[in-house]
């Protein structure tokens, strides 16, 4: 039997700007066990709900994550609106859908860049982030922010996208689509990329489900689970089918995210074509009294919000289960048996966001 050695991975690591620590038990070059540790940046945001009143807490919810910030604020607002039975205007639903999908495009392009960087393919990393910059400029032009949008509020949205601005968004997205197709060709066909990804960290269909995976990690193993199919916001009026692959390996996770970029652009086009006129928000009076679970689809997968109000201006309980939290057990399992050199790439394929995981 080979000697076992424990190699610490993280919380500071060149390819992973997220503070997760793994104790990797290795035999020669093979990982036989991985024990995760988080908790380095726990911010206690859930507890903060006891101090911030419910309309103000939107700002906190949006800052749970710096990548999927908008969908956090959207999920929180949806929950409050559900409890208070607020009739959110249809135009606000469509605008939320558009901004949410723009977030997904930006997040997946960011992740593709990080993935290329983890593989040592620096020029591909730069191309992915160059394209992403175009998306950030769309976000800046329509919301005023690049990371924190600040446009979602309880009862609707703060800003509109008028017809001229929408034409600009669609024109920029057409360019984004064209440029993304070029880099996706490399991600899916380049020999060195495939060599690093194909067959690595494979999660069997049954395992992915049993381990509670969500998002592209789950869909790359053959499942169609996508909470947008619940029909929240404007999704019930848009046509799409979840992107899936069956291989369950790192390559499949990359391929799912690549295809989801084009799917999101298509969804934005559909929404722009169907967006109705009307108000952007309704007036909110009273305080939330009741409880609700909200599920939405972030770029990394299903996020769950649990809100409980007791008729006061402060919620009694605010709980978030982020997609990365749900994907950590699967990461731990898929690391078993992999080569030590594949660990950084494999960790990245769940698109980990530890800041939002720890809240």
């Amino acid at each position: 039997m080979a000697t076992r050695t424990v190699i610490p991975f993280g919380p500071q690591h060149p390819v992973l700007p997220e503070p997760i620590h793994l104790d990797l038990v290795v035999e020669d070059e093979k990982v036989v066990e991985a024990i995760p540790s988080i908790g380095f940046i726990h911010r206690g945001l859930e507890k903060l709900v006891e101090k911030k009143d419910f309309p103000e807490f939107v700002y906190v919810a949006e800052r749970i994550c710096g990548i999927c910030s908008f969908i956090h604020s959207q999920s929180y607002c949806q929950g409050i609106e559900e409890i208070m039975k607020l009739p959110v205007p249809p135009r606000a639903h469509y605008l939320r859908t558009i901004w949410g999908e723009i977030s997904r495009v930006h997040s997946h392009l960011l992740w593709l860049g990080l993935m290329a960087d983890a593989m040592g393919f620096e020029s591909l990393f730069m191309h992915a982030w160059r394209v992403r910059e175009r998306v950030l400029k769309i976000i800046e032009a329509t919301t005023g922010g690049r990371v924190i949008f600040g446009v979602c509020k309880v009862g609707g949205v703060r800003r509109d996208i008028d017809a001229a601005a929408m034409r600009n968004v669609l024109a920029e997205l057409a360019e984004t689509e064209r440029e993304t197709k070029e880099i996706v060709k490399v991600f899916l066909n380049d020999g060195t990329v495939k060599h690093r990804l194909c067959g690595v960290g494979a999660l069997a269909r049954e395992d992915a489900y049993a381990l509670g995976c969500v998002g592209p990690t789950l869909r790359a193993s053959g499942w169609t689970n996508d909470t947008r199919k619940l029909g929240y916001a404007a999704f019930r009026e848009l046509s799409f089918e979840p992107v899936t692959r069956t291989e369950g390996d790192c390559y499949a996770r990359v391929a799912v995210r690549c295809d989801e970029i084009f799917q999101s652009i298509d969804l934005i086009r559909q929404a722009a074509a169907k967006i109705p006129g009307g108000e952007l928000a309704v007036k909110v009076t009273g305080n939330p009294d009741g409880e609700v679970f909200v599920r939405t689809e972030q770029p990394r997968g299903e996020v769950l919000y649990y809100l409980k109000g007791n008729g006061t201006k402060n919620l009694q309980r605010f709980r978030v289960r982020t997609p990365t939290f749900a994907n950590i057990p699967a990461l731990v399992k898929s690391l078993q048996g992999c080569s030590l050199a594949d660990v950084p790439v494999l960790v990245l394929t769940i698109d980990p966001c530890i800041s939002c995981t720890e809240r």
Binding site: G39, H42, K51, E82, A210, N225, G231
Partner: protein
Amino acid sequence: MTEEQPIIAVTPGTLVGEVKRHCEQGWRLVQIGAAKLGELFEINYSFDRDLVFQNLRVQIPETAARLPSISGVYWCAFLYENEIHDLYGITFDGLVLDFKGTLYKTAIPAPFAVKPETPGVSASVVQPRV
């Protein structure tokens, strides 16, 4: 309402059996979340199957904050149960991977189990955990 959200009340004694039944019926564990309600802890176990959502809910007194672990049924539950232990101080018997209170590094033990702060009184007055 975007989806139905039935909540089934269970007891600590029937919890694992109900969870096993859900597992055998093909439900995916979505999350485990705790809340402090006065002198009680309320723990919700959420499941999904083909976009159908369902919850098991158990309430326990804070003076007997102990539950059987479901990590023997859903292995991935170990992460949720360790989190709840560290934030609420609830003990889970039979955890398959027990971090023994080291998953989260918090200034005070079980910070979510303490009552909401009185306005004007800072959390820093609480003795830090050594």
